[in-house]
C-alpha cells in the first residue's frame, strides 16, 4: 500500500484514537499532579430540626478567589503518587527500618492499601490468564471433535458465561455460594464444618473470585481457538496420522504451533483485562477481602466527597502496570514485525 493511501485510510481511526484515548489519558495525567486548593474553613453555627451546633463550613468566597487565580488547582507534582494511598515511599522506608525481619516487613507492606491491592490483582491475573486460556482451548478441542449436528447448541451453551451480563452472572453465583445457598451448603457439608462461610474467609473469597474469573472469561479463548482450529491444515494432520501420531502428538506438534500467534494475542488481551479486575469484587461484595487498583478508582469516585486526583493517580499507575506487564511481549512483537 502506498504511504499516502495508507494515511488516508488510517486518518479517521487515528483522529478518533487521539480524541478519545490519547487526550483523556493526557488529561488524567495532568489531573494526577494537581489537587484541589486549600479549603478555607470557618466555624459557624448550624441549625437543624434537632437543635443548633457549632460546626465548620468552607468559606466559599475565599475558596472561589483561589480557584479563579489557578483554575487547574494547586500543582503538587508527584505528591499524590507518593502518598500513603498510592506508592507510599516514606511508609515503606519506615517499615524497612523498623521491621524485625522479612516476614514483619511483608506484613507492614501488606498494611498499605496499594500494595495489598497489587498482590491480589497480580495473583488474580497470574491464575486467571493461563487457566481461562487453557480451559477455552480444551473446550474448543472438545467441540471440534463432536459431530457437526451437535456443535451449534454446544457452542451456544459454552458461550453462555460470556453472554450473561457479568454483574448478573456474578450475582447468581454470589447467592449460590452464600452459606445458605447450594454451593455454600455443599462446601460446609464436604468440610464437615457448619460455621464455614466462603464469604467470610479471605482465602476462599480469593479462590471464588479466581474461579469466577476463569469461568466467565474462558468463552473468549474458546471462540478464538475454535476459529483457529478451522484453519489448521488438514493435510498435515492426515499425514501425521499416517505416520502413526497419536491425538496428543498431533495437538502438541501441529495444532499448538499453528495456534501460537493466537495464544500470544490472547495472553496480551487477558493480561490487560485481568490486571484491571473490578466487576467480580463489586458483585461478590468482596471488598473486605480483596481490593484491586480499579476498585480503588471506583471507591475514590464513589464517596460523598470525590477524590479526583487520587483516582487519576491510580489510573496512571494502572496504565504503567499494564505497560510493564506487556513490555516483554511488545518488545518481541516489535522485533518480529518492526524490522520488516
Amino acid at each position: 500500500m502506498k504511504h499516502a493511501t495508507f494515511l488516508r485510510f488510517f486518518l479517521p481511526t487515528a483522529t478518533a484514537m487521539l480524541l478519545f484515548i490519547a487526550l483523556p489519558i493526557v488529561s488524567v495525567l495532568i489531573q494526577s499532579v494537581h489537587a484541589p486548593h486549600d479549603r478555607v474553613v470557618v466555624e459557624v453555627e448550624n441549625c437543624t430540626p434537632f437543635g443548633c451546633t457549632k460546626s465548620t463550613v468552607i468559606d466559599q468566597a475565599a475558596t472561589e478567589r483561589l480557584r479563579e487565580e489557578k483554575p487547574q488547582g494547586r500543582f503538587v507534582g508527584l505528591d499524590i503518587y507518593r502518598d500513603r494511598s498510592h506508592l507510599a515511599f516514606s511508609e515503606i522506608g519506615e517499615a524497612w527500618n523498623q521491621a524485625t525481619g522479612a516476614g514483619d516487613f511483608f506484613a507492614r507492606l501488606m498494611n498499605l492499601p496499594f500494595y495489598r491491592a497489587l498482590v491480589f490483582t497480580l495473583t488474580y491475573m497470574v491464575f486467571v490468564t493461563p487457566l481461562s486460556i487453557l480451559l477455552g482451548f480444551v473446550v474448543a478441542l472438545a467441540v471440534n471433535a463432536i459431530p457437526r449436528l451437535f456443535r451449534g447448541p454446544v457452542i451456544f451453551f459454552s458461550l453462555l458465561p460470556m453472554i450473561v451480563t457479568p454483574l448478573i452472572g456474578a450475582l447468581i453465583l454470589f447467592w449460590m455460594v452464600d452459606s445458605r445457598g447450594i454451593i455454600g451448603a455443599a462446601v460446609q457439608w464436604l468440610a464437615n464444618d457448619p460455621n464455614l462461610s466462603l464469604k467470610a474467609s479471605t482465602t476462599l473469597t480469593w479462590i471464588m473470585l479466581i474461579v469466577y474469573g476463569t469461568w466467565s472469561t474462558a468463552p473468549f479463548a474458546f471462540v478464538v481457538y475454535y476459529a483457529g482450529l478451522q484453519t489448521v491444515p488438514q493435510d498435515s494432520l492426515e499425514s501425521a496420522m499416517l505416520d502413526g501420531a497419536t491425538r496428543w502428538h498431533r495437538i502438541r506438534y501441529i495444532v499448538l504451533p499453528h495456534l501460537m500467534p493466537l495464544t500470544v494475542f490472547m495472553f496480551l488481551i487477558k493480561i490487560m483485562d485481568n490486571f484491571r479486575v473490578f466487576e467480580p469484587i463489586v458483585s461478590f461484595n468482596a471488598a473486605a477481602h480483596a481490593q484491586s487498583l480499579s476498585y480503588f478508582i471506583y471507591s475514590d469516585l464513589g464517596g460523598e466527597t470525590r477524590l479526583l486526583s487520587s483516582a487519576a493517580a491510580t489510573s496512571v499507575l494502572t496504565i504503567a502496570g499494564v505497560l510493564v506487564l506487556l513490555s516483554p511481549v511488545l518488545v518481541r512483537t516489535w522485533r518480529q514485525f518492526g524490522k520488516a
Binding site: 479549603r39 430540626p49 434537632f50 460546626s55 460455621n195 467470610a200 464517596g303
Partner: protein, 414 residues
C-alpha cells in the same frame, strides 16, 4: 358481589388517578423544576405532590434513584444546572455545600415561605440552605416472641443486647441472633459513627479538620462492634440494609439496629411470614458504655435549590417543593411512610423508634465538610479488625492515616 367489588375498585383507581393529576394552585405558573433525589416511599410522595403544580408553562420533572449521590453534584454544576432541586440528607448536603452549587433560601422564605415552620429550616452560618421534611434514625428492632422465650426485656444498652444474644444462642433458639448492616463500605462506617457517638467522643479536634478517633473510646467502640459481630451471621461483612432485612424476614434474627424508614416493610403481614411480622417490634435506640446519648445518629431529609439557575426557576422550584411538603399531602397512605416534620402528622406505631430517638436527645450526624472523607476511611478500614487481622489501635491509627492522606489531597489539611 364480585362485580360490585370490581366496579368499586375501578372507581377508586379512577378517582386516585384523577387526584394524582389534579392541578393545585401553587402560586406560580411558569418555569422549570427538575428534582433529583433518593428513591423511597416518602420522597416519592414529596415529588408527586410537587408535580401537581405543573401547568402548561410550568414543567415539573423528577429523577428519583438510589444512586442520586453520583449524579446530583454533576447535574447541578452546569450553568444553567440540569437539576433545579436536590433532595438530600444530613450528610449529602455537605457535598453540595462544599462545591457551592446550592443557593441560600432566605429571600425566598421571606417572600413566599413565611408559613414554613422555623424548625424545618436548616440554617448554616445564619443562612437557610435547606428545608427538612422528615426525620430518620437507626434504632432497635426486636422479636417479641424470642425475647420472651428467654425471659428478657428489650435491650436498653448494647451490653444488654450482647448478653441477650448469647442467651438466645445458648438456648439453641437461633445460631446468629443479632443482625446489622455491617457491609464493608458506607454501612460499616455508619455503624462505627453510631457506636462512637454513643461513647460520647468527638470525631475531630474542635474547629479543625484534624481527626481524633484513636483514643480509648474509639477502641471501646470497635470492641463492642466486634462483640456484636460474634453473634452475627459469619457473612456480616457482605450484609447491607437489604440483606439484613432479608435475614430478618426469614426469621433468622432476634435483634438488630435498623433504619426507621426501612422497618415498616418488616411489620406488614402481606408478603411476610406472619409469625415474624406480628412479633416484630420497634424500640428506643440503645446506649453503650454507660453513656446517656444513644449510640445512633439522627438524620433529616430535606430539599435544596440549585444556585446556577434563573431566579424565576428558583422561585418555581421553591413553591413546587413547598407544595410537595405541605400539610395537605398527609393521608392514610402517606402518614406511616416517615416521621414527617409536617403539621398534622400523627406517628404510627412503626415510627415510635425514630420518635424515641429524638426524645432521647440523640446527636445529629456531624455536618462537617470533611466528614465524608472520614466516613469513607472508616468504611474501608474497619473490616481488617473485625476479621481479626489487626488490633484496634493499629486499625484506628491506619484509618486516621488514610483520612489524613485524603484530607491533604482535598486541601483541608496542610
Amino acid at each position: 358481589m364480585m362485580r360490585t367489588m370490581k366496579t368499586a375498585l375501578t372507581l377508586a383507581a379512577l378517582l386516585a388517578a384523577g387526584t394524582a393529576q389534579a392541578q393545585v394552585n401553587c402560586g406560580v405558573t411558569s418555569g422549570r423544576v427538575n428534582i433529583v433525589g433518593n428513591e423511597f416511599p416518602a420522597i416519592k410522595t414529596v415529588a408527586a405532590n410537587a408535580a401537581k403544580c405543573q401547568t402548561g408553562t410550568l414543567t415539573v420533572k423528577s429523577n428519583l434513584t438510589s444512586t442520586h449521590q453520583r449524579i446530583n453534584l454533576p447535574g447541578m454544576q452546569g450553568n444553567p444546572a440540569e437539576y433545579t432541586a436536590a433532595i438530600i440528607a444530613t450528610s449529602s448536603i455537605v457535598a453540595l455545600m462544599n462545591e457551592n452549587v446550592i443557593r441560600p433560601l432566605d429571600a425566598l422564605v421571606a417572600a413566599d415561605g413565611k408559613d414554613i415552620p422555623k424548625n424545618q429550616l436548616i440554617t448554616i452560618d445564619g443562612k437557610v440552605m435547606a428545608v427538612a421534611f422528615m426525620a430518620n434514625a437507626q434504632h432497635l428492632v426486636y422479636r417479641k416472641d424470642i425475647l420472651s422465650q428467654v425471659g428478657a426485656e428489650p435491650p436498653k444498652t448494647y451490653e444488654d443486647m450482647i448478653r441477650i444474644g448469647k442467651q438466645i444462642r445458648e438456648r439453641g433458639i437461633l445460631k446468629h441472633p443479632i443482625g446489622g448492616a455491617y457491609k464493608s463500605g458506607w454501612a460499616l462506617g455508619e455503624e462505627f459513627v453510631n457506636m462512637y457517638t454513643g461513647y460520647g467522643a468527638d470525631f475531630f479536634k474542635p474547629g479543625t479538620a484534624e481527626v481524633a478517633i484513636n483514643n480509648p473510646r474509639g477502641i471501646a467502640a470497635l470492641n463492642t462492634m466486634k462483640a456484636l459481630t460474634e453473634l452475627m451471621h459469619p457473612d456480616f461483612l457482605t450484609h447491607d440494609n437489604n440483606e439484613t432485612n432479608a435475614e430478618w424476614k426469614s426469621g433468622n434474627l432476634a435483634m438488630m439496629n435498623m433504619w426507621g424508614s426501612r422497618t415498616g416493610v418488616l411489620m406488614v403481614k402481606e408478603g411476610n411470614d406472619p409469625k415474624v411480622a406480628e412479633n416484630t417490634m420497634v424500640g428506643a435506640p440503645m446506649t453503650v458504655g454507660g453513656g446517656k446519648i444513644p449510640a445512633t445518629t439522627l438524620w433529616w431529609d430535606g430539599w435544596t435549590v440549585a444556585r446556577n439557575i434563573s431566579d424565576e426557576d428558583a422561585r418555581a422550584t421553591f413553591l413546587a417543593l413547598k407544595n410537595g411538603i405541605s400539610p395537605s399531602i398527609l393521608n392514610d397512605e402517606t402518614m406511616g411512610q416517615a416521621v414527617w416534620m409536617i403539621a398534622g402528622y400523627k406517628p404510627a406505631p412503626v415510627n415510635q423508634g425514630v420518635m424515641q430517638t429524638m426524645a432521647m436527645g440523640a446527636k445529629p450526624y456531624p455536618m462537617l465538610p470533611y466528614m465524608g472523607l472520614l466516613h469513607t476511611a472508616l468504611g474501608e478500614g474497619i473490616a481488617p479488625f473485625l476479621q481479626g487481622r489487626k488490633d484496634a489501635e493499629t486499625t484506628l491509627a491506619d484509618i486516621e492515616k488514610a483520612y489524613t492522606t485524603a484530607a491533604k489531597e482535598k486541601g483541608f489539611l496542610k
